[in-house]
Symmetry: C2
C-alpha cells in the first residue's frame, strides 16, 4: 500500500471536476514521482446533489465547509470556489489547522495579499497558487524557481483569454466588440457578466500577483491602473494594422530602479513581436531578468484541464515539501526510472518535402510519382522549378507528400535514386505537423 495524501476540494465546477479527473488519471504517475498517492476524499459544493460528469466514487460531498475544515485526516485543501468572503475564511482556517492550501483564487490573493501571505508565513502553512495566473503556463514556478538567481526587472503579458479572444476576432474577422463578445459568451469563453474580463480587472488581479512575486513586494491592488477593451473600435484595429501593429490587452509591470509601474490597458504591439502572435484564448507572459535576459512562456490560460494542471502541480509541490526532499533530478523517483527504447527513424511518419534534381526528359514525373505510389505515398503538391536551358542541365522538382511512413519514403527514394535521369542525390526534409 503506498502512502497517501488526503485531499478536500472546495468547488466542483469545471476546474474542480478536472482536478478530480486528473488525480484519478495521473495518480499513479504522481506516486511514481513522489512516493505518495494523492486521494480526494471529500468535496464541498453549494449543490452537493447536482449530477457531475466526473466520477465521484469514494468522494463524500457536502455543502458544509466544516465537513472538510474540521476533518483532521485532510492534509491538503484545494480552494476553487472563487470570491473573497468564504474563500478567505477557508484559507485562514486551513492555515490555522496546519492544512496546506492550493488555490486558483486570483481576486482573493490580489485584493487581500498582505493578509493571506501574512497568515501563511505566520503559521508556516504551505500555500500554492500557480493556478491563479495563466492556467496551464507554470509562470509562477518559472519566476520563483527557474529565475531564483535573477533580479526580475519586468513582467508583461496577455493574461486574460476572454479579452484576447475578442480582440483576435475583431482583428481577424472584422467583428465589432459587441459581436465578438456575444460569440465569446456563446463559446463559454466569457461570463454572462463579462465586466471583470473586458474591463481589465481579472488581468489586474493576475498582474498584481506576478508583481508581488517578481519584485518581492506586497503591492496594493488599488494602486494598479486597469483599463479594459470596451472602448476599442474596429477603426483602431484597422489603423493599428496600417502602421504594423496589433492591439492586445497587456498587463505590464516594470521595476524602474526601486519605483514600480503596474498597469493593464490595451496596447499596440508590433506585429513581429511574439506577443502579437498570441491569439484566441491563449496566454503568454514575458519576463525580463538581469541574467537570463528576455524570456516568454506561452500556453492555455484558462479552462478546466489547463487550470487543474496548475492545481495538481502545486499539490505535487506540497507533497515534495512535506517530505522535505528536492524533486528528483529526472522527476520520477530514481527506482522508477527504467531504460527505454527509441524507435528507429524508419518507424516515424511525417509529411515530406522531396527535392529531385532531374534531367529534363519525357516521362520523368510519371516515373517518380509511380515509384512513390508503389509505396503508398500520396502527393499533396508538386512544383517544377524551371525548365532546363540545355538537355544535360538538371532541373529541380519539389514534391510535398501527405503523411507517410519514413521506411516507405526511403524505399521509394532508393528506387528513384537508381533511375538514369537523377542528376544529384534527392533532398529529403521532414515537414513538422503541429
Amino acid at each position: 500500500m503506498p502512502k497517501e495524501i488526503k485531499i478536500g476540494i472546495f468547488g466542483l465546477g469545471t476546474v474542480g471536476q478536472s482536478v478530480v479527473e486528473q488525480i484519478r488519471v495521473n495518480g499513479l504517475l504522481i506516486e511514481a514521482r513522489t512516493g505518495i498517492l494523492p486521494r480526494v476524499i471529500k468535496a464541498v459544493t453549494a449543490n452537493p446533489h447536482k449530477p457531475r460528469s466526473v466520477d465521484l466514487t469514494d468522494i463524500e460531498v457536502s455543502a458544509d465547509p466544516n465537513f472538510i475544515l474540521d476533518d483532521p485526516e485532510i492534509d491538503l485543501v484545494i480552494e476553487l470556489i472563487g470570491g473573497c468572503d468564504l474563500a478567505k475564511e477557508i484559507l485562514l482556517t486551513s492555515f490555522a489547522k496546519g492544512k496546506a492550501v492550493v488555490t486558483a483564487n486570483k481576486a482573493l490573493l490580489a485584493v487581500h495579499s498582505r493578509e493571506i501571505f501574512g497568515a501563511a508565513a505566520k503559521t508556516g502553512a504551505r500555500l500554492g497558487f500557480e493556478a491563479s495566473v495563466a492556467g496551464g503556463i507554470p509562470i509562477l514556478r518559472m519566476i520563483r524557481e527557474g529565475l531564483s538567481g535573477d533580479r526580475i526587472t519586468g513582467v508583461s503579458g496577455i493574461i486574460n483569454g476572454t479579452s484576447n479572444y475578442i480582440l483576435t476576432q475583431m482583428s481577424e474577422q472584422g467583428q465589432s466588440f459587441a459581436d465578438a463578445l456575444k460569440d465569446a459568451q456563446a463559446l463559454g469563453y466569457a461570463e454572462a457578466d463579462p465586466t471583470f474580463d473586458v474591463e481589465g480587472i481579472d488581468q489586474a488581479h493576475k498582474l498584481l500577483i506576478l508583481m508581488n512575486l517578481a519584485f518581492g513586494g506586497l503591492f496594493s491592488f488599488d494602486q494598479l491602473y486597469a483599463e479594459g477593451i470596451t472602448q476599442i473600435e474596429s477603426i483602431d484595429i484597422a489603423m493599428a494594422k496600417e502602421f504594423g501593429y496589433k492591439i492586445k490587452l497587456l498587463g505590464k509591470a516594470i521595476d524602474r530602479g526601486g519605483s514600480y509601474e503596474g498597469r493593464v490597458h490595451p496596447a499596440l504591439v508590433p506585429e513581429d513581436d511574439l506577443l502579437a502572435a498570441v491569439n484566441g484564448a491563449f496566454n503568454a507572459v514575458s519576463v525580463e531578468a538581469d541574467f537570463a535576459g528576455h524570456l516568454m512562456a506561452y500556453g492555455r490560460g484558462a479552462g478546466g484541464h489547463p487550470t487543474s494542471s496548475a492545481v495538481v502541480a502545486d499539490l505535487v509541490g506540497v507533497i515534495r515539501s512535506f517530505k522535505g526532499e528536492a524533486p528528483p533530478p529526472l522527476s520520477l523517483l530514481p527506482d522508477r526510472l527504467v531504460p527505454k527504447e527509441i524507435l528507429p527513424i524508419g518507424e516515424i511518419s511525417s509529411e515530406y518535402y522531396l527535392r529531385f534534381s532531374v534531367l529534363d526528359r519525357v516521362g520523368v514525373l510519371a516515373k517518380i510519382t509511380r515509384a512513390l505510389g508503389d509505396q503508398n505515398i500520396s502527393i499533396s503538391s508538386m512544383i517544377q522549378n524551371e525548365r532546363a536551358a540545355k538537355a544535360k542541365d538538371a532541373v529541380d522538382v519539389v514534391i510535398f507528400t501527405h503523411q507517410a511512413l519514413e521506411r516507405d519514403i526511403r524505399k521509394a527514394l532508393e528506387e528513384i535514386g537508381q533511375m538514369d535521369f537523377i542528376a544529384r542525390p534527392t533532398k529529403l526534409i521532414r515537414v513538422d505537423s503541429p
Copy 2:
C-alpha cells in the same frame, strides 16, 4: 553574519566568469530568498594565471581538481569544463564526498546518463543541470515542477542557437550555408570546429536530456536520430517559403503510447507556427502535456549570462533543498517582503496612438499639433483617414507620438478636448515598446 554555502567552480570561461559575477551581483538577493549567502571560494581552471575580466577577489584559483574535491568546506561543486572524461570524474567524486553538483554539461549527461543519474541516486547527492538545455529558459524546471501532475506526451524545439542563427541568416539575408557559418564564427556564435552544432549533435544531447525527464526513462543516446543542416541549400529555403514554411533545425520527441520517437533534423515549420518566429540565437521548447495542453517557452539558449542564470537557479534549488524547505510562496523569505508602491499612471512614459474625431475645418491640425508641442510631445507619424463628406461630419485624425510622459499627454488632451472642432472624445492607446 548570514549563513553561507561555499562553492567551488570548475572552469572560468564565459559561463564560469558569469556565474562568479552573478553570485556577486545577486548574492544578497539570494540571501533574501533563502537565508543563505552563496560564496565562491575556489576555482579550478587549466590556466589559473590567465587574466579574467571578472573580479576574482577572495577566490583561490588552481589547476588541480583536488584543490576543490578534497576541500571538506566546499558544499557545492559547479562543473563548467565540458567534455566527458575529467567532468565525469568530478561529478562522481563530488557525489561520493557528499557534495552537491550543478553542471551545464549536456554531452556528459546525454552520453553517460545511466551512470551519472545512477550514482546521484545511490549517494543521494543533489544534482542540478538546468543549464545543460536551453540556457536562459528554465525548461527542465517547467517540466519537472510546473508539469509535475501531467503526463508529457511530446517535447520539441529549437535548442541550438548556432544552427538557428545560420538558418535565420540564410532565410532572411539570402546567405549560403558557408557564408552564414563564417558570420556565426566571427560573432562567436559558432566554434572553430562547428561539427557539434551544425550536425545536430549538440541538439541531440539536449533532446536526450529532455526525453529522460519528460518521459521518465533512461534513453540511449546511440538510438537518437541526428541530422544537421549542412545539406540545406538556398533553394530549399526558397521553395519552403513558397509553400508557406520556414526551415528550422528541430529536436522532436513523442510518446507514441509507450514507444518513443526521438530525432533531430531540419524540418519545414508552418510560417504561422510560433516556432517559425524563433530567430537568430534564440531557443524555444514546445511541450505537449495531457492536462496543461500545448505550451511553449522562449528565451536565450546560450551565452554567459543566460547560462549562468540557469546555474545559479540550480544553486538556489540546492540551498532550498539543503534546508528541506519549500520555496517561499512569493520567493523572498516572508520577513523580507515589504509593502511597495506602484507609480501613478501619469508617471509612465510611452509612445501613444491618439485618434481625434474632428470636424473638417481649416487649422485643425495646426491647433492639435501646437497643443501637443506645448507639452513637449513630438509626433512620429500622422494620418487623416478621409475627408468629411459634409462640413458637419467628423473625420478621424490618427497621431503616433514619440516617447512622452503620460501626465503631459493627458494635459494636452484635456486642452484639445475643449476645442470646438472636437466631435467625440479622443481615443488614447499606448504603444508597447519592447
